[in-house]
Symmetry: C2
Subunit: 491 residues, 2 copies
C-alpha cells in the first residue's frame, strides 16, 4: 500500500479522492465545484475521446460546435426540459467590468446589463434545435447526425472530482430524423456504442436498460442507459441515450416537407457521456496500491526503469533498453523509459504502480549478465524474469491478457454483487448488508418506486433490456410485474 | 461564378460572409456574437487541431483542462493583464433560476447571487498560474509544458464569423520554466511551430516577427506573432506566442527551489491560435467560385460524381469507381463517392466546387467506353481526361501539386503586395491605392506609431525577425531606425 494512502476498507470515499489527486488525474480548483484535469488524467480522457469519436464517425456522425450560451427564454420553450434544467445553472447577467472608482480592482459595470440573461449551457437541446430549424426544410436535409465535444455547467451543490462537478467535459449527440422508427433505432444504436466502449475499452461491464418515467431525461420519451457497479456496491450511470420524440421539434417549430410534400415535425435523439466515465474507470479497477488502468486507455502502457549505481551501468542498460522500446513502439505500444537521475528506482516503481501503468520493466547490470528483464504487471502485482529475446512478444501478449483479466475481474465482482430477491425483507436486508445490484419485481408505478427509494435509498437504475423476462409480483406491493428491474444505491 | 454569389471585386466583405455561410462552414447563432460552426467547417478545424496537437506533442507538450470560470479578483492580480482583459467579458453573477411567480417562464433567483462574480475566461493565465502555484515547488517540477484546447469569450461589439466572435475556440499553451533563456526559447519555438503549420498545412505564407510594445499581449514582455496577408490587402494576425517574464509568477507568488536551494520566481510563456485561422485559410485561397482548400486540410480531398440516366448506367459506373475509391483511400486520400439520386450531377459539381474540394472526378457511360475519367482541379479550375489506369497515381500527384501551387500563389500575391517605401508620402500613397504590406523605417517610438495609425489606419504588424536588417531613417520623423518594420491595415 502506498504510504499515507487510505485503503478502500478504511474509507472508500476518501480512498477515491486521494487516488484522483495523488495519481495526478485531477484536483479541485479555486472555483467552487470546478476541477482542474491534470495532464495525466487528461491523457486518459483523450484516449477515451479518440475511441468514442472514431465510433461516432463509423456510425455516420460528424462533429460541430454550438454556442456556450443559451438565451434564458429558450429553456422555457420545452415544458419538462425547463423543470429539469433551468434551476441550478450559471447565469450571465453583464458583459463588462470597470475599474472600481475606489481604486481597488474591478467591479461589474452596472451599465452593461444584458437585456436577456444568458445561461451557460447545462445541455444544448434548446440552442441546437433553434439552429436545426434553419437547417431543415425537406426530407433531403435528414437525417442530421451531429455530435459536439464541449464543456457544460450544472451548478451542483455537492461535488466530487469527475463524478459530479459544476463544469464538466462531455460529448452530446443531437440527431434529427424523418421517422419515429429511425430516431428510436438511433437512440438504441448509440446505447450499444456506449456499452461496447465501456466493455471493450474501459473493461467495465455494464447493464443496458431503459429508465423509469421518473428517472428520464427532462424532455425525453425514453431514456436508455448503461449502468455499472462500483467496488463499494453503488451503481454509476455511465451514459445515456434519449429518444426525444417530437418534443423539441414542436417547441422550436422544426418541420420538414416529406417526399409526398406533407409538412411533418422532425423526430429527435440526444445522447451523451462525460468525464464522469473517468470516475467509473477509476472505481472499477483501482486498488489499495493506487490506480489500475486497462491497457487500451493507459497513456503509458509500459514503463521501463533502469537500475544502476554508476553512469557506465546506466549506459549499458540504456543500450539494451532502447531496441526493446523501439520494438514495442513499432507494435503500437506506448513506452516510457524513465532514466531521470533526479529520482531513485524505488520512487519510480511506486510512481508507475500508483499511476496504474499496466506493465513495468526493470533492468540492471545483473539482468544484462543473465540476459533477462524483470516484468511486473499492475493488475495482479506479479513479477517474473523474462528472457530479453522474448520480452517484446511477452509484453505484447500481456497487453491483451491484462485487458481481458480486468474485464473478467469486474464481471466476477458484479456477478457476486448482484442479488435476485423475491420479498421486500430480503430486498432491504441485501441493501443493508451487502449492497450491490438487486434484481426485484416492481409493479411499474412511480408511487412504489418513490416509497422504496424513501425507505431504502435504492433507486431503479434501469429496466434491463437483455436477459429473460419472467413475470412475477412486485416485492413491495404484490401487484403483477412483467420483469425484474435493477435496483441499487447510486452515485 | 456561383449563382447569387457576390464577387471579391464587388464587395470583399460580403463575399467573405456569403462564402462562410454558403459553403456550410459557420453561421451566426441566436446569441449575439456567438457562431455555430457547422459540420463541414468543423471538419476543417478538426484537421487543423489534429496537426497542431501532433506538433505540440512532438515538442514535448501535454494537454490539460482548467476551469471555464475565473474569480473576478484574479484578473486584477496582474496589473497590465487586467487593463487588457478585464473589460469586455461575460460575467456570471447568479447560479439559479426560478419559476416566474407570474407563471411566465423563468427568472433569475435573486437569492442565488454569487459572493464573488465569475468571469467566463477570456484567456487563462490567471486561473492557470493560481494552479501552477500548487504544482511547482522545486526545479524538478519544471518545466511545465501544458496546452489546453478550450472555448473563450471576449465580448466583442463588432463580430465577424471566425475572424472576431464573442465565443471562439482556441488552444492556449502555458509553460513554466526555471530560467529566462529557456522561456524565451520556448516562446520562439512555438512561433516557429505556428509558422510551419501555417505554411506547410494551410499553404498560407506568414511573416514572423515581434510586436511593438503597444501591441503586446497584456502582461507580456515580448509578443511574437505570425502575420498573413489577405486578398483584400489587409493583414491578419494568425498566431501569437508570448514571453511573460516573471509577471504572472510574481502576481501569483509562484517560486521554485533551485538545485542550489535558492528560491526563485518562475519564468512563463503562453501561446495560442484560434478558429480565427479558419478566416485566414478562407481568405488566403478562396475565389469567386467559392471556397478553395489546400489538400492537407480538406475533409474531402476527392469527390467522385457518377453521370447517368438509367440505373444500369449507375451500376456500371459504380463498378468502375469503387476500386479507384479504395485505391485512393489506401493511399490515405479521403474520397466521397456521391451517388445520391436526390441531386443532379450539375448540382453536385457546383456543390463540391463551392466547398473547395481539391479534386473532382466525374465518370459516365462514355468514359467507361473510352477507359477515361474526367479530373477537375479546384485551384486552377482545369479539367482533363485521364486514363483509368493512371487516375490513382495522377490524383496522388495532384494532392502535392495543388498544395504547392496554392502556397506559391499566395507567396506571389504577397510579394506583389508588399511595398518598400522611403518617404511618408509614398507610404500614404501605397496605403491609399494598393494597400498590402508596407515596409518602412520607424523610429521606435509609440508616439510615431500612434500618429501613423491615426493618419493612415495602418498599424505596425510586426518587427520582422527574418531578412536583412538595414538601418535608415523613420519615414515619419526622420529619426534613426535600425530596420524596416511591417505596416498594414489589419483585421
Amino acid at each position: 500500500m502506498a504510504k499515507g494512502f487510505t485503503s478502500r476498507e478504511q474509507d472508500y470515499s476518501k480512498w477515491y479522492n486521494e487516488l484522483v489527486v495523488k495519481a495526478d488525474l485531477a484536483e479541485n480548483s479555486d472555483v467552487r465545484g470546478c476541477m482542474v484535469i491534470k495532464p495525466y488524467g487528461y491523457a486518459i480522457w483523450e484516449k477515451m475521446q479518440a475511441e468514442l469519436d472514431r465510433m461516432f464517425k463509423a456510425t455516420g456522425h460528424s462533429n460541430a460546435y454550438f454556442p456556450l450560451f443559451i438565451p434564458k427564454s429558450y429553456l422555457s420553450k420545452e415544458a419538462s426540459h425547463v423543470e429539469g434544467f433551468a434551476k441550478e445553472c450559471a447565469v450571465v447577467t453583464h458583459y463588462r467590468l470597470m475599474n472600481n472608482p475606489n481604486g481597488d480592482g474591478v467591479i461589474v459595470d452596472p451599465d452593461a446589463k444584458l437585456e436577456e440573461e444568458l445561461i451557460v449551457r447545462p445541455t444544448s437541446e434548446t440552442i441546437i434545435w433553434s439552429t436545426y430549424k434553419k437547417w431543415i426544410q425537406s426530407y433531403r436535409d435528414l437525417p442530421i447526425l451531429v455530435n459536439q465535444w464541449a464543456n457544460v455547467v450544472r451548478w451542483e451543490m455537492r461535488t466530487r472530482l469527475f463524478l459530479r462537478t459544476a463544469e464538466f467535459l462531455w460529448q452530446e449527440g443531437h440527431t434529427a430524423h424523418a421517422t419515429e422508427k429511425e430516431a428510436v433505432e438511433e437512440a438504441e444504436q448509440m446505447l450499444r456504442v456506449y456499452a461496447e466502449f465501456a466493455e471493450k475499452h474501459m473493461a467495465m461491464p455494464v447493464i443496458q436498460g431503459v429508465k423509469t418515467a421518473s428517472e428520464r431525461f427532462a424532455g425525453a420519451l425514453e431514456t436508455y442507459c448503461i449502468e455499472a457497479l462500483m467496488q463499494d456496491g453503488k451503481a454509476l450511470q455511465a451514459g445515456t441515450s434519449h429518444f426525444l420524440g417530437q418534443n423539441f421539434a414542436k417547441a422550436f417549430d422544426v418541420k420538414y416537407a416529406s417526399k409526398e410534400g406533407k409538412e411533418e415535425f422532425v423526430w429527435a435523439t440526444s445522447w451523451g457521456v462525460s468525464t464522469r466515465l473517468m470516475g467509473g474507470l477509476i472505481m472499477t479497477h483501482s486498488d489499495d496500491h493506487g490506480l489500475v488502468l486497462p491497457p487500451k486507455l493507459a497513456p503509458i502502457q509500459v514503463a521501463i526503469i533502469p537500475i544502476y549505481r554508476q553512469d557506465d551501468q546506466l549506459e549499458a542498460v540504456t543500450e539494451k533498453v532502447l531496441p526493446i522500446k523501439k520494438a514495442l513502439e513499432e507494435k503500437g505500444i506506448s513506452v516510457k523509459y524513465d532514466d531521470r537521475d533526479t529520482y531513485k528506482p524505488g520512487w519510480k516503481f511506486n510512481e508507475y504502480e500508483f499511476k496504474g501503468v499496466p506493465v513495468r520493466l526493470a533492468m540492471g547490470p545483473r539482468d544484462i549478465e543473465n540476459g533477462t528483464v524483470e516484468v511486473a504487471r499492475r493488475d495482479t502485482l506479479e513479477k517474473e524474469l523474462v528472457s530479453l529475446d522474448n520480452v517484446v512478444e511477452h509484453v505484447e501478449k500481456l497487453m491483451i491478457e491484462i485487458q481481458e483479466n480486468l474485464y473478467k475481474k469486474a464481471v466476477d465482482f458484479r456477478t457476486e454483487n448482484t442479488t435476485e430477491v423475491s420479498t421486500y425483507d430480503e430486498f432491504k436486508e441485501v441493501l443493508k448488508t451487502k449492497s450491490g445490484f438487486v434484481l426485484a419485481h416492481w409493479d411499474g408505478t412511480p408511487e412504489t418506486e418513490e416509497r422504496i427509494k424513501k425507505e431504502t435509498k435504492a433507486t431503479i437504475r434501469c429496466i434491463p433490456l437483455e436477459g429473460e423476462k419472467v413475470a412475477g409480483k412486485c416485492v413491495f406491493s404484490g401487484k403483477p410485474s412483467t420483469q425484474k428491474v435493477l435496483f441499487a444505491k447510486a452515485y
